[in-house]
Symmetry: D2
Subunit: 341 residues, 4 copies
């Protein structure tokens, strides 16, 4: 059993813990918060502390005592007990934590917000598993890039992808965020979007560019992709490839999947923990040809989409599996992905 | 074991089924949809059909066959197998269904959208349980009124309430609704709001009025209440009463409960089914005196707030308990309410 | 002086009237509402009736009398006094009104909401002015298509356009709309979007497709365009063409033009009537190359963007100018377009 | 002619300049920006510089030169040329600027964002004009408080007000704001709201409290007021008083004034500069009795509502009129208020 610690207990950290617990070949040693009894930690307490809580610092320990929330130790304690750390702290903190991980000779997986320099490799479970095998420090791509690469990588393996031009219609905040927001405005970012640039780091043979527009919604990014493939494929060929992918869910607008909010509702109705969805969705009726290019729209459930690839990264870093296919299959199996297929 | 059927499988119907399953003295016979494989039904199928599905009509049976979704019979079949029906169909349909319930001599509980005439009594588990005991047709109050009455009723029992003036800051759609919405606008309704009027039906000794303003959000109504009590109480007295109520959750803005979206996130993080919350929340820091009146703000999680009172209604209609306190305590126990207390 | 009537006095109709008044070679005979004293008509009254008001029917005349709003006659009266009608009624009404226009042998210009069959030609002032010359019934493209064609047409004239793939990030309602809306959701439409299809009607030599996503905002559509040109041009060449176009405004994100809401604010601050903007904006920093293709994002101020091309259509239909360049120059001059150049 | 300078050229500053220009007994010497060519300044340039522009500092003068925007001097130059300054800089800057105003012995009017200490008196044109007469430094109340006081003050003068309990449904950003926002969330503030507290500073004989809830919209705050008067008045008496007030506009939901966005649209359709509205609106159909109390909802157009009272403040500070009624009548006349009456 590989011993895993989750550092950072926000939107992503909570879900990483949810995902690790489901892996039968991994053990969640605990999670580390920064120093305050956040809503996430209060919820953990109200649920009866299903796993152990550590703290980056004990400076506010009396706040936890008041609430009768048991602390199992410091971040440094947690690190020593683990084989690998999933670091989901906010941007910049991971780079500092890395010193601690190195001190105890532990491997770590960072999230997309950290700078690339923090890691030995920029990692995606499907697109470059080999690159991560045995590495000490891996960095995931951001939620948009992770979900996007799933589709581009499987098209690439099937038909060869030459270039893509993407439009990211970005949700601007997560449900419950009060520290950021946008009201009745679309906000345009300078191009190319970092997601296109990041994709090229993982898939250097693909030419990618794109424009990102922020929108005042919370339930999932939508990306349109114009892809130039090496073959002139039709919609059915595209669907065949997407439908065979356990991390891609092909949905129909006509069935009620009208957009990001419908997918959010569906995941809640599935009874998924926190109402989360791990899959990238492809909207069937958006697939159209543009000359020999093909165009389609996908949905990225930003809160949970990176969990599977983060689990894959543990498998790669610790050489739990050296073969990528074997690794992602195990991750998928334990996360219950592809059940609908 | 009381046999319960849920008719209407939308936002409320799904949650009624969730709630009935948790009652150890009730059995969920099944749920009835109208005639199409909605997203809710597709999710039921993907979850492995944890309970039986009936259909108002079989006109689209081939659509269900295609999706390999088993149907256990018609609405009429379901009604015959049940002791009581929770009718959560859309406004107007319940009145029609009532004929069927009468035909088979079954009791039924209607939701707030139906006209008052459909029922023998307008019901609230805490405020008028006695009125519902043994009745054939009960009607719940709407989500806002149900959650509001919890607070007004417990103030009334403790101190006596003379009048209230409320401002309802209404969420305009549920997460995932595409058939209604409001964009960058506040919409004012003619006063008095029906919620104030409805409250007086349940609590005729209280004088109530109010103004309702629709807002473009999805995660919970917020109501401010200006209450004139028979006693001149202070904030601590108010809090004491609210904190003792298993269906009221007192929260602090300072702890991170900044509004409806924070409560929605918290419920998801609790791991509640569908990320739901049953409790009315009171924001501690909003409690202020206005002369001898007292003012405060509450949060109404519109998707699930009526579930406990709907379960109470079954208990009353079927005389499972003739004592209201006993009844609501059982409902609360099985729903896991008040665990945080 | 050409005598113009505006039929339909909603968002578009009001602005058509504003635009006609500015044309020194046109006279606004009056505007026709349907039958009720809408907010637009109440505003006209409060401004002191700067132009005459007609009514489709007099069935509610007493409502106007009560408000002391003078009516100059019926729709039929208005039609007889005009040389040409700008019909901005809601979809479907224009087709009925056409019988009246034919009865009195009057030309008419319909808006994009009407079916194509209503008109002899689908018209755009820059892209196919010739096709409209002397025709009796012209139909404008919708706001998105009109603004988009400006950019595609000028690229086509300069470099030749082979195909485009667009992503329309659509504002879902106008400021002040209460009859439609979307709340915290992105809504995806089946592809190809009608805008791409419509563009091909006007520019049949261009291959166009696209995906449309509705967003809960009110201040302008944003479209990303991936264009395949006959030449491999760079950003500077693109900018040169756009900057020379009086109906295209090149703006920089760095200057504060961060999106549709910034442009809306800017138009208000310019003191434009109703805070309107006629120009399609291009966001400078979004222009990127995708291989030999070029990609960029534009903003479409949906309330007013079609006004210039609607005025052009009058010029074409009545042969006021047979040369398109001459016609659009006059429209631009009278509307004050290109002043910033 | 009183010489007025406007310091700070944002949302409020621009509108103060608009308002001063309309006063026939005042002259706008110029406006002062901080140091960058903002969108507001670019719009001023595009309009042809209808008034002179000064700069707090010349550190970025080359940016203005590039854009060919003429600068008439520094803030210090402007101050020397004026009799009075309207300071609409962001919170905290006004307190610094005050040193400059004192250096040149100039009077100044600050906006609601400044701390109370900056001024000799907290001012409202209708409620306490006398207090401002001849004072050197006056501070306006915030937009919500200013608009609210109009209604409470006129009720007070007619019937006597004992206490009010308000619920402020606050728009969270102005149209075009990208630096702040809220997405799909209602945010509750600790009570009492500062608006209630501030009102008591101006009207110390009234007891006021309230709760403020932020909503993700941009077009106007809505406030519900529960007022305890010295007389038990009915709706008609209330309406009579409100309808006689040139800064209060009574509107009907039934006529189409469904909320803040409808009022915003109406102001645009009136052709008001920037689509602004100066009046507080009262929604007729929201007026209800709560026992002997009376309840109603009002709309506050946050961008422009403080302009009239700011102009009043000039009149008071400079003793242009010693009688408040005379002063506000002049302001109203020049601003064109009450035309609809």
């Amino acid at each position: 059993m590989i011993k895993v610690g989750v550092v950072g207990y926000g939107v992503i950290g909570q879900r990483l813990a949810d995902g690790v617990i489901l892996q039968e070949d991994m053990e969640l040693v605990g999670v580390a918060g920064n120093s305050k009894p956040t809503l996430a930690i209060r919820a953990l307490k109200e649920k009866g502390m299903p796993y152990n809580l550590y703290m980056a610092s004990f400076e506010n320990k009396e706040l936890f005592d008041e609430l009768d929330i048991p602390l199992s130790g410091t971040l440094e304690d947690l690190v020593q007990k683990c084989d690998v750390i999933l670091d989901a702290t906010r941007a910049g903190v991971g780079a500092k934590n890395k010193e601690l991980y190195k001190k105890y000779n532990k491997k770590a997986i960072f999230q997309g917000g950290e700078k690339n320099e923090v890691a030995d490799v920029f990692f995606h479970g499907y697109a470059n598993y080999d690159k991560g095998v045995g590495k000490d420090f891996l960095k995931l791509t951001s939620c948009n890039t992770t979900g996007l690469i799933r589709t581009v990588d499987c098209l690439d393996k099937a038909f060869g992808v030459e270039k893509i031009a993407i439009t990211i219609i970005r949700r601007v905040a997560d449900p419950g965020d009060y520290h950021r927001g946008l009201t009745n405005a679309l906000k345009v970012d300078p191009a190319p979007s970092h997601q296109a640039v990041d994709l090229m780091t993982i898939m250097p043979h693909v030419q990618a560019t794109g424009i990102l527009v922020h929108t005042p919604v919370t339930h999932g990014h939508i990306i349109t992709v114009v892809a130039s493939l090496k073959e002139d494929i039709n919609k059915e060929q595209l669907l065949e490839v997407f439908k065979a992918h356990p991390r891609i869910r092909v949905v129909k607008i006509a069935d009620g999947f009208q957009g990001n909010a419908a997918l959010f509702r569906y995941a809640r109705d599935l009874g998924n923990p926190r109402g989360d969805m791990y899959e990238t969705a492809v909207f069937d009726e958006t697939i159209v040809k543009s000359g020999t290019d093909i165009m389609f729209a996908i949905n990225i459930p930003q809160e949970a989409v990176v969990i599977p690839e983060s689990i894959d990264a543990i498998r790669a870093a610790l050489k739990m599996q050296v073969d990528g296919n074997e690794a992602v299959s195990l991750t998928n199996k334990y996360l219950g992905m592809g059940k609908w297929m």
